[in-house]
Structure formats: C-alpha cells, structure tokens
C-alpha cells in the first residue's frame, strides 16, 4: 500500500510537471528540472483538488475520477509532445560550477538530506498527523470518502466549531480523491501529501533562486529553509501551513519570473497559485485579498491595468470555486460570524494590543532561529548587510514586500478580533503563521541580496 499510495499521486503530479514544462520547454538544465518538478508538484495537486471538487458536485459517488485525471494527463502529454516537436532541439548545456558553488551545494545537500529525513521520520512516526489533521483535513477527507454522495457533511453547519468545517478543502479533497482511487482509507496518503509539499517548497525556492540569481544563492536558500527547525518541523504534521507556504512562495516566484520574462502566462499562473493558496487555508484567503489589493495599488500607481487583469484571470477559477464553497456549502467563519459590538470592544482593548504586539516582538527577536535569535531578525540583518543593487525585478520586490507587510498586519488584526482565548490562540498558532510566509520571505531577501559567489569573489565592488 505504501507504493500504491505514492503512485496514486503520480497522475496529478505528472500533469502539473507537464504544464510547467510547456511554459519553459527550452529550459533543460538539471537545475531547471528541479524547478519544473517542484512547481509542478504543487500545481498538479492544486489542479487535482479543484477538479475533484467539481467532480463531487456533479458525480459524487461515481468511481471514475481516475479516468478524469488520466484524460487531463494525456492532454498535457500530447500538448508537451507537440510543443517539443516544434521546438528546436536544445542540447543540455555543460554545467559549469565553481569550487565555491560546489561547496555551497554540498552544504545545502547535507541540510536537505537531514532535514528531509527528519520530515519523513516525523511523518512515519505520526502516520495520522497531529491535532489539526484529525480535527480538520483528515476528518473532512473521511467524511468525503466514507460519505460519498453525502460528502457535503464534511463542511456541515452542525459540526462543532472546533472542527473548522469552513476551512478551504484542498488537502482534504486530495486525500479523499486518492482514497477513492485506491478504494482504501490509508494513512499513507495524507502522509505522502505532506512530504510532497515539504519537498516542493525546498525545491521551488532552490530552483527559482538558481534560475533568477545563482547556484550559490539557491544553496543558501535551502540552508535557510531546511536548517531552521521552526519551518520543516511543520512538514510532517499533515497540516496546511507548509502547503500554504508553497502556494504563497509559488505566487511570488511566478511574479518574479513574469517581471523577468514579461510573458503573460506567468502572471496568470501567479494569480492561479494565489487562488490555490486561498483554496488551502483561511489565511490564504486573506493572502488572496492582500495580493489582489497590492496589485490594484500597483496598477493605479503605474496607470496600467493590463498586468492586474491577467492576474485576475488566473485567480478567477479557484476564487469562484472558493466563493461557492464558502457561501453555498459551509458555515461562516468563526471570526466573521461573531458579535460586531464585541469586535469593536476587542479592537479598543489596549491590553489585547499589548499582548499581541509583545508576542509578535518576541517572535521577531527570538522565534524560529538559532541560539535564541529570531530567524526574521537574522533575515532583516542579513538583508541590511548583504542587499544588492537590484537591476531587474524591482517591481516584483516592492510588490512582494508590500504583500508581506499587509499579510503580517492582517495576522495582527485577526488576533485582535479573535473570539477565542487570545493567549491560547497565540501560543498555538503564531509560530505557524510565520511558517506560512517564511519561504517567500527567504526567496525575496535572497533575491535582493548579494550571492555567495560575489561575497567570496576577490572583486571588491
């Protein structure tokens, strides 16, 4: 069942990889393959989840989803074959790697191997995941798989509020669809899904930095992601934070590629991955609003709405399905269904502000890093010391930083209006909120900083 569970993911993953391959047929470097593979994993899983949702709406209880995925895969395969035929054969360029780059890559490989083995071992020891997995994602998946025609019960208004029936269903849909395909409810499926997303985050950050910056910077990206315990320890828990981190990172990376290559499909895909972030977790819904808001401001500033419209076009499908899910299938969110007078009271409460501010400050100064020094503090100092003159992609850097700033402000406001016990909620979730934005922050900071190749060069400029 281990192998079968893994193979059950192969069709959506291969479809995702082929779609990404279609975008960059000419890119055939081994490094580009890592980028295509990892972006394809997340894209494929996202598409499959949307597809299964539509399938359930119309054909719940029918055991033919595998064939739907097979048709999509064959279509992508045919398109890739036809495009490959039209493209002039490109021979693999000889990879020229300096001694310094080899050194950084070896270090990155050591970090990757150990941290990834750590994720696998965690997932293996806790094959059912942790609390949130039982409460939300795997529970919803059980409802869908066991309930078949009654799959909507997974998101029922009758469900206790603690089960977060309103949470977006990407993970649960993927688990249920794999169980459907395997005709067995095995814990290997959610386990593999969580391992796949952990792998994809590392690979995407590495591949994107290698493509846009340098191999040394890409290796450093892996060290910063895999070498901090607060991030990858989430990877094996079968929760939605690392998948959400993946889609946030993917949307930012695709934005950088768009401003680098100016191909409309890239900003459409960026919008699509923002939609997938919203399809993964409620914080992703906020990320979608923030990203779209920042893109509007940027369009107004530039007095050009072309990019924004393309972005919206990519966002459209997942956003429509999300609205249908939120308004037709599930209950209102606990934050939005509360008493508005109480919310005003919370906002005016200075002790709440102080508590949230102190927690944010403590996390910034001491959370997630090394030797009690916070990883976001380390990244800030790193950026001050290492920042480089950005020649291209300045727009993408500004847009990303604005998105991060608004996202963190949003987290602050959510805590402020939270109907739950504030101390409990902050202890339980603050760390994970920063996990969600961490890979994208690492990517942007490293993109805007000098690479190890420059720092260790004999050139003083």
């Amino acid at each position: 069942m281990i192998l079968l569970s893994f193979l059950a993911f192969s069709l959506p993953i291969l479809t995702g990889i082929l779609i990404i391959h279609l975008l960059w047929v000419e890119k055939k470097h081994p490094i580009d393959l890592i980028f295509k593979l990892t972006l394809g994993i997340g894209l494929g899983l996202g598409i499959s989840s949307l597809l299964y949702f539509v399938y359930l709406i119309f054909f719940a209880g029918s055991p033919y989803f595998l064939y739907v995925e097979l048709v999509l895969f064959l279509a992508a395969l045919l398109a890739a074959y036809l495009k490959n035929k039209k493209t002039t054969q490109v021979y693999l360029p000889k990879l020229s790697v300096s001694f310094l780059q080899i050194t950084v890559l070896i270090i990155a490989a050591v970090v990757f191997v150990f941290s990834f083995l750590g994720v696998i071992n965690y997932a293996r020891q806790r094959s059912h995941g942790d609390w949130d997995a039982w409460m939300i994602y795997n529970r919803s998946a059980r409802f869908m798989y066991r309930g078949q025609e009654n799959w909507k019960d997974a998101f029922s208004k009758d469900m206790g509020i603690i089960f977060h029936a309103d949470y977006p269903p990407l993970l649960a849909l993927n688990i249920a669809s794999r169980w459907d395909i395997l005709s067995e409810e095995t814990s290997y499926v959610p386990m593999f899904q969580s391992i796949l997303f952990s792998f994809a985050v590392l690979g995407l950050c590495f591949g994107a930095l290698a493509s846009l910056k340098s191999l040394g910077q890409a290796g450093l990206g892996v060290v910063l992601l895999g070498g901090v315990s607060f991030f990858l320890s989430e990877g094996g828990r079968q929760t939605a934070d690392v998948p959400l981190a993946f889609y946030m990172l993917a949307s930012i990376v695709l934005l950088f590629f768009y401003y680098h290559e100016k191909r409309p499909i890239l900003i459409i895909l960026s919008g699509f991955t923002v939609g997938l972030a919203a399809w993964t977790k409620n914080e992703g819904v906020f990320f979608m609003l923030v990203s779209a808001g920042v893109m509007v401001i940027f369009a107004l500033w530039k007095r050009f709405f072309g990019d924004f419209l393309l972005y919206l076009a990519g966002l459209l499908l997942p956003a429509l399905l999300l609205f249908y899910f939120k308004f037709q299938i599930t209950r209102p969110n606990e934050f939005l269904s509360g008493d508005s007078s109480k919310m005003v009271q919370y906002i005016m409460d200075t002790s709440r502000h102080q508590m949230i501010f102190n927690s944010f400050k403590n996390f910034f100064l001491h959370g997630g890093g090394w030797n009690y020094i916070g990883i976001f503090l380390i990244l800030s100092v790193y950026f001050l010391l290492f920042h480089s003159r950005i020649k291209d992609n300045l727009e993408a850097v500004f847009i990303s930083l604005a998105i991060f700033a608004f996202q963190i402000m949003g987290y602050y406001v959510f805590y402020l209006i939270s109907p739950n016990d504030l101390e409990w909620q902050m202890n339980y979730s603050l760390n994970r909120l920063f996990v969600q934005i961490y890979p994208a922050v690492v990517f942007v900071i490293l993109f805007a900083s000098q690479s190890p190749e420059i720092i260790f060069s004999s050139d003083l400029k």
Binding site: L117, N121, R146, G147, D158, S233, Y382
Partner: protein, 142 residues
C-alpha cells in the same frame, strides 16, 4: 572599509551554513526518539467503530457528552478536548453534536460519572453498547 564588510559577510555566511547543518542534523536526530501518537488514534478508532456498529444509519447526527458536561464531575480539560476530537474523527461521516438530544448518543463518562448521569436520566435511555469506558445509548421513547 569595503574589505572589512566583505570579511564580515563571509564570516556570517559561514556561520549561517554551520548553524543550518547543525540544526538540520539535530532536527533529524530529535525525530528518532520522538513519541508516536499513532497507537492512541488507532485504538480510539477501533473502540468507537465497534461501539457505533449498532447505529442503524450511516449519515446524520449523533449526540455526545463527556465528564465536562456533567455538573460536579471531575475531568481533565486536555483529555476531554482530545477525546472529543478523536471521537468525531472515528465516527465520521456521522456528525457529533454536543448533548443528548439526538436519538443515538455517545457517553464518554467514567463509571462514577455514568452512575450520576444514569440516576438523573433513568428510563429515558437504553444502553445499546459499551466498550473502553464509552457508552452508546438510544432514547428509550424512540
């Protein structure tokens, strides 16, 4: 000045690389000795699926109470919370609702608390199943 800055940057990069490797290895080692929670999930799953076997429907609502719902009963908040989550996880696609207003109900009560509950609710419910400290009861008038 530029040279000094460059040396500082090199030292920082080396330190980051070393700390990254150290944390990566430590993270892996910590997972070797970690406590697995699988047994408790599987155990609870088995207990509950045996318990609800007599329930004649596959979908719909089923009531649930624990020691926390009985005034004066002793309980551990973490246990109550954890068992509530695990019970819903186990009985899916039945939806757990708090209280005993449903026709079928799960009572997660210790023996002493069950006796207290039974004295108050005598003749209103019939015990259909019992296992591992959890009761399945059905409203007697239905």
């Amino acid at each position: 000045m530029l040279m000094l800055r460059k040396y500082l940057q090199r030292i920082i990069l080396i330190v980051i690389a070393l700390l990254g490797v150290k944390t990566g290895i430590e993270g892996f080692i910590s997972t070797l000795n970690m406590h697995s929670n699988d047994a408790s999930v599987i155990n609870w799953d088995e207990r509950l699926s045996n318990l609800i076997a007599p329930v004649p429907f596959e979908y719909g609502l089923i009531g649930y109470i624990s020691n926390a719902d009985i005034p004066g009963a002793a309980f551990d908040e973490d246990d109550v919370f954890g068992e509530y989550i695990l019970t819903q996880f186990a009985v899916a696609p039945l939806i757990l609702v708090q209280g005993t207003d449903q026709e079928w109900n799960i009572l997660n009560l210790d023996p002493v608390t069950y006796e207290t509950w039974n004295q108050i609710n005598a003749n209103q419910f019939e015990v259909v199943g019992f296992g591992g400290g959890v009761y399945l009861v059905r409203k007697a008038d239905k």
